[in-house]
Symmetry: C2
Subunit: 111 residues, 2 copies
Amino acid sequence: MARAATTSDAFNAVAEPRRRDILNYLAMQERSVSDIVDAMEMEQPSVSKHLKVLKDVGLVEVRREGRQMLYKVNAMAIRPLHEWTSTFERLWKHQLLRIKERAEAKNEEKK
Amino acid sequence: MARAATTSDAFNAVAEPRRRDILNYLAMQERSVSDIVDAMEMEQPSVSKHLKVLKDVGLVEVRREGRQMLYKVNAMAIRPLHEWTSTFERLWKHQLLRIKERAEAKNEEKK
DNA sequence: AATATACATTCCTATATGGGAATATGTAAA
DNA sequence: TTTACATATTCCCATATAGGAATGTATATT
């Protein structure tokens, strides 16, 4: 079997750094494709293809305005990623605490 | 160009659902490969290969104990994902607020 | 030393890219 | 109705899987 499709879920879709760049850019406000092309410095077909992937997994929404297509983020679709990573938050906080404790113990030694 | 390697970063590594399953399992405690094989109901070579990807991006750490290799999560490596998703938190909270407001307005109508 | 156990690695293959180039589609302007 | 503009789609190809099968390697047991 090959790798799962980029359109299979949000996890696969955001694995591509350019798509995260696009989402970051759209986080500020709704934008046209050509705005994105200019900002990202990518070829227009590439941008359109990335936008298609993002749309397929529900990470962006589109509406037409004249000749332009205006894209915006659908933040709700990012929530599952946030929630999955949150389940590990307790672990890394604990890890950070231990690092801090060690640093303090080392400091105590010096005295 | 093809898709970026699964070992290029944590985003690509966790795109694969089986690897997230493994991380979820390891979140509870350090485990041997055969423990993982049993729990995940996957073939041992598959598990070993997924573990290699996770290790390459720093998502897990290993130590040997006799014949066994004990793997554990390195939660710190998940933080970048958490932080990236957090930048959209404001947006979905705003979205949820609007949904709530609409529901209340609709309720008001009924009266 | 021989054998068993626990993992890792290699080889194979179907599949899904992402980018570049070219082209198609849809809408507005002249 | 041409023409221009904005975006989407198609074709091509090098590349990287993920899983299955087979094999290699390290450590412990007998």
